[in-house]
Symmetry: C2
Subunit: 497 residues, 2 copies
């Protein structure tokens, strides 16, 4: 038995209703992005607000908090039990720290801000969004202060998205990456082996055929569509789960440049796999999900980049592409490999290749740190963004949409979120080298033995859910936690040799 | 303002979280029947159990119950406020009366029973289902006793599905119907004007084309697909709502006999329309839904039978059918009318025509009454069923699937539910005659002015939600409550003239 301590068992009994609300809220989110009729958002917003509040109230029931505090004093808890207590203590601490007015204000501001942001981006009008962004950075600073911080207010925000992550960690990581990536980018661009653009980027496809490709690839990757999972269409690709037996991913079909939808599917598959491989014994508990955004992104980036953009994977999917997309006949597997791996400094983060991607994160992180302390004013952000972009990648945005208005995150109040993308890229690379010591990764991919790779992930990382804190889990699983050297080595080996 | 009394306003504030849980549970039900991956039912069952329990607890919070009791003593409440108090008092009374062990036992038994019932029906094995059915009638009897009853234990069960309905009402109604229907059935069968079968029943269709027909019909009926509603596919057609801005119906495509899917869509549309036309001011309150199953079924039967199976409607939809279904070219509108209105004593309730339909309800009601008092044993039900069927419709089931095992209701623990179908048929007919005094119904249908009909329904019935008890609402709206004479008159006029 995974859970034996009677106190922890009592906690889990009482916790299950919180899990159930989470289950319902996840389904509501999925539905909002996929099938909900347009005007349904009105009722959905009311339901979401009520259930969030209820969740908070149930988490902070005095008798529940007391149980958790009591269990925390036990010394002979096993790892799973300790995990339960750790995660609940963290949730309780955060829920207690933030006053209801702040939570309500944040919900109100972000709900409006998301609408205004879309409008502002379309109209290329930063001033429209500015008052909301000011409010959001102001509320984020207040959030940091209520949560408490020691060296930098940004610490408190980082921790919301990645348990235990500090500004100094992020600074060190991004510092190392900055110097090394600059060299790699210069190298790959001057060598010219990897193209900046590819004719396939302009070729249109039929949605139905591309859907067939995506489903076939998912099938090969052992994604259990219809049994324990789904693939649907939404404006922005995402993964969501309602438990380990119901994990859903989405993609979008833009009608051109097929790698965009294909890699979004492989990326989301990586997230989904994490959830699908968690130990069923952890179901309905606070540790029955992925441990952090960084570790989660590590799984998705691993499948998207390390596996998906490799020569071996191209060979493997080539017949599927050939069978479903007429225009593939004019291209060799090697052509496809270079199409999958174009490298070009570009404005839009979500379109960035794996070499330049982390520069986008560097920019946002610097900017968030300065905005949160007030060292830089919101009105100066666009200029700061453009200058920094020019410095990092040698290109200067011509519109706000190419610059400061491109991401949805701030409009949602997510300040401190971006660094987790870089954590993910590092984890993916580190995982690769750790895995290669034990299984011949390239050969497995070439022969389509994806299950071996997935079992490795399951046994080392996935099955534990949130049992261990992120860094501890990573050190146990792959020997290091968040370290940039493997990512640098991987990119140098792939793009400079 | 609809709600002015401060006490009622406080009640509604506190009620909103109950509405939110209901919203989530409705979405969970919809998803379970439409898109949920197969194994997802495990997590869904746990979530459903937890949320049901939570709902119960929140409803019975002492401070909430106290508020409702206090408001109940006010004399100057307006109709809406009185409605809120009435509906909540009723919910509280039922929730309080049933001990948790009974609720849990019932949930457990029915969950298994639904699986076993499917198996038993397929295998034509009544003995397999018998112990579950015994348990279910036993639990139903206990439920009746806990709820309390005066003249007949069946009263308590009827009230669960139709507020205030008594066994003596049902007996009187079915008594009148029995004699009259017998005559009408004999008349229509001997006249032979309405066929027993029709060649179109054997003609296959393409699902995609039939989907187009259904959507086109819904469009003509002003059903706001994508805006405030949806049409999806499920094993059994149903209607569900997540509020007045998100109402969803489903149908199924069997590939043959297109009227089956078409009329299921029109039927569910009738249910959906009720919800779509409730006064938005009643949103998130206990009176923001249809008042009862009987009134609801009245709306669906009205659209399915009174409108949908009329000559005028056939003329109106004929071009849509002609345009999408190749085989229609061989049939005139008059042929289609008779195809829509075949009359034949048959075994399966859900396939029954509008003339014989209520005989099926008569049978089940008699049987439920006797089983609940123990006057008949569960082991004798199949024989009783077959004998009674022969008496009512002159046909004798050859399998349990054609007889006692055909309906899902008992396996779900729904005893006392069936009579509401007949209530619906009566309401539909009474609504028709009430409407005809004010608007020329046939002409409206012939010219496709469905909005006039819908506005009539909205102003008389729909907009009030559950403000008035069912009988009071019906008397205000259509002059009578549940009376069989209009139904008899309608059937006689249509089938014997």
């Amino acid at each position: 038995m995974v859970f034996e301590n009677p106190l922890v068992k009592e906690i889990l009994e009482k916790y299950r209703v919180l899990w159930a609300i989470e289950h319902a809220m996840s389904l509501m989110s999925w539905d909002s992005e996929t099938y909900m009729p347009r005007e349904g958002y009105r009722d959905r917003a009311v339901a979401r607000a009520e259930l969030s509040l209820l969740q908070q109230q149930l988490l902070l029931r005095p008798e529940f908090v007391e149980l958790v505090e009591k269990a925390d004093k036990y010394e002979d808890l096993n790892d799973y039990e300790r995990g339960v207590v750790r995660v609940l203590k963290r949730s309780i601490r955060i829920a207690r720290a933030l006053p209801p007015w702040l939570v309500a204000e944040r919900a109100k501001v972000t709900q409006e801000a998301m609408v205004v942001w879309r409008e502002a981006r379309v109209r290329n009008d930063f001033d429209l969004f500015k008052p909301y962004l000011e409010k959001i950075f102001d509320l984020s600073r207040k959030t940091a202060d209520f949560l408490g911080w020691d060296k930098h207010p940004y610490d408190a925000l980082l921790d919301l998205y990645e348990e235990g992550l500090k500004t100094e960690d992020v600074d060190r990581i991004l510092g190392v990456l900055k110097t090394n990536l600059k060299q790699i980018i210069d190298g790959v661009l001057s060598k010219g082996m990897y193209p900046r653009e590819h004719p396939l980027e302009k070729i249109p496809y039929e949605t139905g055929k591309m859907e067939a490709v995506n489903k076939k690839i998912l099938e090969i990757l052992n994604y259990p569509i219809g049994v324990r999972s789904r693939l649907d269409t939404s404006a922005h690709p995402f993964t969501i789960d309602m438990g380990i037996n119901d994990v859903r991913i989405t993609t979008r079909y833009e009608g051109v440049d097929f790698k965009r939808t294909m890699f979004s599917v492989i990326h989301e598959f990586g997230h989904a796999l994490y959830q699908l491989q968690i130990d069923p014994a952890l179901s309905y508990t606070p540790i029955g999900g992925g441990v952090s955004l960084g570790v989660h992104e590590g799984q998705s980036r691993f499948w998207e980049n390390i596996i998906g953009r490799s020569r071996e994977f191209v060979e493997f999917v080539y017949p599927i592409l050939r069978e479903n997309l007429d225009f593939i006949k004019d291209y060799t597997p090697s052509d496809i490999y270079y199409y999958f791996n174009t490298v070009k400094p570009s404005f839009i983060r979500v379109d960035a290749d794996e070499v330049t991607y982390n520069m986008h994160i560097l920019l946002r992180t610097e900017l968030e740190k300065l905005a949160i302390t007030g060292e830089i004013k919101v009105s100066d952000l666009p200029e700061f963004w453009n200058d920094y972009m020019e410095k990092l990648l040698g290109i200067r945005p011509r519109t706000y949409g190419e610059g400061v208005l491109q991401d949805i995150h701030w409009s949602m109040g997510s300040v401190g979120y971006f660094p987790t993308y870089t954590l993910g890229n590092m984890v993916a690379a580190s995982m690769r080298y750790a895995m290669e010591k034990e299984i011949k990764l390239r050969e497995r991919v070439a022969s389509g033995e994806f299950e071996t790779i997935q079992n490795w992930q399951k046994d080392r990382i996935h099955k534990y859910g949130a049992t261990y804190p992120p860094k501890e889990l990573l050190r146990k699983a792959i020997g290091v936690d968040y370290e940039p050297e493997h990512l640098i080595r991987y990119l140098a080996e792939k793009y400079l040799k």
